[in-house]
């Protein structure tokens, strides 16, 4: 067996596929939401809040956020792996990145389900 260098990533296709799947989800959501906003044209607070209070939009928006944060994890992890050489520092940055993204996920859920 070859000496495996610890880089702090999985070694399969999962992340590669997840990066693309989340990208497609976000692209579809963005186009869909642009269309919804063009039709509804929410100019006031009530109208704007009403858009996201809709159950389907709320679900899709949360799906978008989860996709966004998973996608960001893979991309940011790749940046740390490319530029940060000391293993300890790199793995610390990985942990900080995950912690931030998990926190953002809860934050997004709180924003949406307060409505």
């Amino acid at each position: 067996m070859i000496n495996r260098i610890v880089v702090g990533a999985g070694y399969g296709l999962t992340d590669w596929i997840a990066q693309r799947a989340t990208a497609i989800i976000m692209a579809v959501y963005s186009v869909l939401m642009a269309a919804v906003l063009l039709v509804v044209r929410p100019g006031t607070f009530e109208a704007w809040q009403g858009v996201f209070a809709n159950g389907v939009i709320k679900f899709l928006t949360f799906l978008f956020f989860v996709s966004l944060f998973y996608h960001a994890w893979i991309g940011v992890r790749d940046i740390w792996m490319d530029y940060v050489k000391p293993t300890g520092l790199r793995l610390t940055l990985h942990v900080v990145t995950i912690a931030a993204l998990v926190g953002y996920t809860a934050w997004a859920a709180a924003i949406l389900w307060r409505l």
Binding site: I24, W48, A72, G75, W107, I111
Partner: protein, 128 residues
């Protein structure tokens, strides 16, 4: 035991002298825009939360989003999103082997800029 045939290849990693071809520029800007968006997640989440919280927080959101420094940041984030979006679609097409020949790849890189820059300006006009 195989002979050691690793040759010392010429290497140039001096960023000040490298001239990236257009697809290289799309690629590095994809990374830069992604990193910028990541760093600004808290700003965007805060603005999103304020816009949806209450009539009072919505008014705060409008006031904050209207401040010049915030507008500049939002314009940058808008470009980052649009570039990342357009370049991302190009990468997805390359993944399924659409336009992987050198000439086609150069042309699609030019298309990314030709779409992302005007689209950013249009959205800027609509949103900001």
């Amino acid at each position: 035991m195989a002979e050691m045939t690793i040759k010392k290849r010429p290497k140039n990693l001096d960023l000040t002298t490298i001239r990236l071809p257009l697809p290289g520029k799309v690629s590095i800007l994809h990374r830069v825009s992604g990193a910028g968006l990541f760093l600004c997640f808290p700003v965007m989440l805060w603005l999103f939360g304020a816009s949806l919280g209450s009539p009072e927080s919505f008014a705060t959101f409008k006031a904050v989003a209207g401040m010049l420094p915030v507008k500049v940041i939002l314009a940058g984030l808008l470009w980052a999103f649009v570039h990342h979006f357009c370049a991302g679609i190009r990468f997805l097409l390359l993944d399924v082997h659409v336009g992987i020949e050198k000439e086609a790849a150069r042309q699609s890189a030019a298309v990314v800029f030709a779409v992302s820059i005007p689209l950013t300006l249009v959205l800027w006009g609509v949103l900001l």
